[in-house]
Symmetry: C2
Subunit: 439 residues, 2 copies
Amino acid sequence: MDVLSFRTPGLGDQTYLLTHDGRGVLVDPQRDIGRFLDAAAERDVELRFVLETHLHNDYVSGAEQAALRTGAELVLPAAAAPAYRHTPAFHLEDIDGGDGLTLRPVHTPGHTPEHTSYLVLIDGEPVALFSGGSLLVASAGRPDLLGIERARSLARLQHRSLHRLAALPPGIALYPTHGEGSFCTATGAGRLTSTIATELTVNPLLAIDDAEKFADTLLAAPMPIPAFYRYMGPANTLGVPAMPPTRVPDIDEPAGHVVDLRPRHVQAQGMLPGSYGIELDDDFGSWTGWLLPHDQPITLVAEPGQDVTEAVTQLAQIGIDTVQGVVRDLGQAATQTYRLANLDAFVELLGAGLQLLDVRMPSEWEQTRLEGAIERFLPDLFTQGIPAELDPERPVLVACASGRRAAIAATYLAREGYRPIALTGAGVPDVANALDKLN
Amino acid sequence: MDVLSFRTPGLGDQTYLLTHDGRGVLVDPQRDIGRFLDAAAERDVELRFVLETHLHNDYVSGAEQAALRTGAELVLPAAAAPAYRHTPAFHLEDIDGGDGLTLRPVHTPGHTPEHTSYLVLIDGEPVALFSGGSLLVASAGRPDLLGIERARSLARLQHRSLHRLAALPPGIALYPTHGEGSFCTATGAGRLTSTIATELTVNPLLAIDDAEKFADTLLAAPMPIPAFYRYMGPANTLGVPAMPPTRVPDIDEPAGHVVDLRPRHVQAQGMLPGSYGIELDDDFGSWTGWLLPHDQPITLVAEPGQDVTEAVTQLAQIGIDTVQGVVRDLGQAATQTYRLANLDAFVELLGAGLQLLDVRMPSEWEQTRLEGAIERFLPDLFTQGIPAELDPERPVLVACASGRRAAIAATYLAREGYRPIALTGAGVPDVANALDKLN
């Protein structure tokens, strides 16, 4: 038996391909299934099963399409009841894969009500556990994605599920779907895979015996929920169409929302008026899906020759199939500008009394605050608008933790007529340290 | 072991109280839990468990309140994940009730994804099955309440669930929650309880081996879905407050929607202008919940001395807690009138060329149609309004199957200024027969 991992870094998720004697089991595939099917083909592996641990809330699934494309059997939790054809996995009712391969569904509600983990047995020996969004590396799937009302109940269920899984033989390898960087993960984790034995030692949540204390811990400091999440569950319940083409045409006239994915130092020199700047990176899709209205036409702005496949793929992974094309020649139209500042320059400008906008999230504010900073989490900037305290007539310093969010916020301010200066390559904690040294 | 049945005729549902050695198990209790708790007390039975087979879509549940009131353990399907404290029932994981009483949850998705039946074993011997909305008497729970998109998938799951239950020992007594008269029941049934053996013989759905044919049959002629159903699932997921008081004050000035529950021959002589007439009967709550906007203030109109407890209870059973009071003295204000006609008079008026409105549902139209009839199903009359073809200047004959819906429709027409004449004590098929005899 071999298990291949496929990371989708922008979503913090892992897809797995288990292979055994030429048969494959694909677990929680992202929508861009080509990479999984190619890997199977390269290894001469025939896909026997496609498994979904739950109806995902953070991406649109490629599971149904992978099954349709390969003839593999699509397995979902018996309580998922999606609108498409599948084999329901009932709690502890083994599914025989032939040649000694057995799948044992374990109903592990908590992250979602129907959530089911899959224990893989080879010749009757349990060897691997695909734990989806239940037991994660040093963490657990968050229980509050279906609404705060059900969060405590789901946390109690998660407690029970984690302890059920922790009671499995310790040598079993653990392959969770959600990991570091996923907003489905309750707290940070480091490694991507683990074993039951390791988690028993290092997972702080497994050390909590009391269900209420467990729920308190899990719900103590909930991460924000990206705005596009709300569309993922329904999409995965109703069925997701095949990946759209990732090659999009070059166009001259932008249509819909314009997203500039060029490097921020290029954006800063001149963007199309009204455009948003979201530099292409692993989390390009997540930020675009979080900040822009879902499923409306999008035009990308890219550098001449820049490959936009990755950008289109990331958007498709969260169900945004509305990229109209790419504008590459901005000509004289690139009149929307902003400034970037490194740490030294930023601290100097701050010392000169410029106004400051901190676009990190509330839990980060609680860690470090700068005196006089006006705080608005980046997504709230897009939904609530620019804080009234900011004077459009004066330059606005914008900071986050790294420059990523500050640069995006700067483009939002620029399109609204402000004169932003984004801190890049550093963040608020660095500014705080620098100020400390000055004083 | 003994099983008491409590029928809620207007909803077509049954609640059960299983008693064994002084211990009680309450299954799918309606919201008015007094009658169940009284029955338990009368028999000196201590409630040990309150079971929910699923998150109901046709009424608000009394399960949580029954458990809170008695200290019984509240058990729900593990994939229900309601917002309140409960014990999750996992597929085939026995729950020990002590003294030889065992509950075996059987995950039976189909009516809903989380739906779980409960097999009761006494001293290890399976004796009774509480099948909720899965295997019903000569029928099955309908799979289309969660939307037409998922209906076929849920029908396939229901097929599997029915066959799973049918494979249980034939002597087991069957206690379904949904029965005749419930809009959760796919097709009509007659008796209220049964056995596995009987169903194997008489249930036409169990005779269908092929899942697709089963789904075709189940989905062939879907019954309409009462408008209030959409509020029941969320209410049962979030938690239902205790029953409101069933005694409501006499008031002089009506507030909100006015519902006249007096006998139709009394209504016809004079109602408050703008009021709706829904004569008190088993289905008073269902029709009120279907026809009026949910959860807005309601004033009842009753006869002097008429007990309105039943009306308030029926409304509370579907989560309508907004009865403001009862008006009993209409005085000179009762100016809204309509006419009632028996079969002979109705046929004569029809022969005289009066316009005719048929307010039965589409499946009934397909059975019998009257020439020239304008057809609009009663609930559609309330949402779509009165058909434009009807001339308000001329009397309108209104018919259904019995007079029940025709009388309600007549009050709707009357409040809009029409001059309706409702066929009472007979229906469209009777009119058709009478016309046949005349010709």
